[in-house]
Amino acid sequence: MNNFVILPIIIPVIIGMVMIIFRKQIKLQRYLSLVAMAAVGIVTIYLMLQIKSEGIQTLHLGGWVAPFGVTMVVDMLAALLITTTSIVAFCCLLYAFRTIGKEREQFYFYPLFLFLITGVIGSFMTGDVFNLFVCFEVMLVASYVLISLGGTKIQLRESIKYILINILSSFLFLVAIAFLYAMTGTLNFAHLSLRVAEVGQGGLMTTVAILFLIVFSLKAGLFLFFWLPGAYSAPPTAISAIFAALLTKVGIYAIVRMFTLVFYHEPEVTHLFIGILAAITMILGAVGAVAFWDIKRILTYNVIVGVGFILAGVASFTTVGMTGALYYLIHDMIVKALIFLLGGTVIYLTGTSNLRDLSGLIRLHPQLGWMFFIAALSLSGIPPLSGFLGKLFISEGTFEAGYFWLGAIGLFTSLMVLYSIMKVFMNAFWGYTVIKEEEEQGTTAGLLLPIGILTALTIALGIGIQAIHAYVDLAVEVLMNPSIYIEAVLGLNPKP
């Protein structure tokens, strides 16, 4: 029992609820939201140190032990992701202060933002499938409101699609959970893992696994990403940045959890299937990223490529591949938020997202331009920035697993990503300066701080990768040995 485990979930809930009571005090809400994210980050780092010295931390709510009660489990994977979440959310909040507008702030932007984070963190922490569903819903309901908040025409059009597709996938999620419960009689991850291992992962069980994969693919944007480019380019920058950084990652996390802890017995079926989907996702995403001339479109298609690449590492199902996937997951959360904030700033300054209308911004905004350049290099995995090591390990993992085609597609699409993002950089920042300073729609005052923090982080993660190396190794060890997780939740020698 460790009561610290629950804090990252309840801090945002409590502060969000307090904000609803003080709806009119915008200043107070701003401070409180930053305090909440900082507190979550600090608590999680403390948890990480505990996990390192004492192993996985669990909490059985109300003293009802697993598999009967609700269990919260923080292993190193969850702790790393929650820490990154809090940092990214902190920066997006800083960005939102300047750009989100008074209207949205008064209509519960900050509480909703915190509820979104609650759902994300809850999904990372929960120890059973049903609560994963619940936390997904918390996150989704908050995202429904955030995506339509403001009610511009494009937002309403995209939010309808977004809500419909997510209701469908939630329905499928429940169906899959019902199947799983009917077949195993439990929903606790650790207990499921034991039971599936005991009865064996037969054809029917694999079918249920594929059903789960479809559900999570819809959420993560793996192959079934047709809803994503529209939905992520509709809301304001701060919101679409947090969506791009976090929401698809929760789907990826669910796939990682499910297919390393529960359904890991038939990798030649399930993991190969993930690999094929990842390959198609990378190709289609890269084609989209190269084809469009609209900044928002290019960036959203880059999100899709990232999803495919992380899952290529997961599909390899080797220690190296998983390590790479984890490095890349953390890197992707940071750099996707960064690149969305940068792209959003360009649009905010010039009032257009069409690359053909942009030129020579670097003369007016040198810092912005160079930070964009760094982010672009990091996104495509140029050393020594943070994307490099993840890319290296994922490629190594896929080669080790014998999926040469997958690794090759991964590397090839990296080039296409580099091309697509350099296209943005060269068109928007290089060339003859067409726009005068006084013609700009806004200023970069205050916007450069969150962008600067994230840029510094992507550089630091690249150069100082040694610092988190031990933690990532611990996380991967748990992923590759389900028995560690099971032992932490159910105790020694559990009954199946």
């Binding site: 029992m1 009561n3 629950i6 309840i10 809930v13 409590i14 609820m17 307090v18 609803i20 009571i21 709806r23 909490l59 059985h60 709510l61 109300g62 003293g63």
Partner: protein, 141 residues
């Protein structure tokens, strides 16, 4: 406002609302050992208020109950979560509950449980949410 000819519903509602409120409180209290509890108690309570909305109009009811129901819901969730946080002070798992028997002046020997505090939070959250939903879809002028 026009004066509709609704003397029957007005007379019935005035009595029925009191009965529903009482029933809601009964449901809430019996919830600890028998079917009932904060959720359905709150729903029954909200249904009484909705009956008031139907009988009289929303403005009249809001004038008499000047509460922002979104805030009610938020306070409800806060109470529920904070009762969970209370268990952190006693170093037991989050959301742990306890109960004891006390000799109260009027009721005699009574069982008091901390779960009731949690249930009050649930009830308030349900009342707040249900009424917010009804008011935002009913009040579309």
């Amino acid at each position: 406002m026009k004066e509709p000819n609704d003397i029957i519903i007005r007379s019935v509602a005035k009595v029925a609302v009191v009965i529903i409120f009482t029933f809601a409180i009964n449901l809430f209290i019996s919830g600890h050992h028998y079917p009932g509890g904060g959720f359905i108690g709150g729903l029954a309570f909200a249904s009484a208020v909705i009956l008031l909305f139907l009988t009289f109009d929303i403005e009249t009811v809001r004038k008499n109950i000047p509460l922002d129901f979104k805030v009610v819901a938020a306070i409800g969730v806060l109470i529920a979560v904070l009762t969970g946080v209370g268990s952190l002070l006693f170093d037991v798992p989050f959301l742990s509950q306890s109960f004891g028997y006390f000799n109260l002046p009027v009721f005699g020997k009574t069982e008091l449980a901390t779960a009731v505090l949690f249930d009050i939070g649930v009830a308030l959250a349900v009342i707040g949410t249900a009424l917010t939903i009804i008011m935002s879809i009913g009040d579309d002028r």
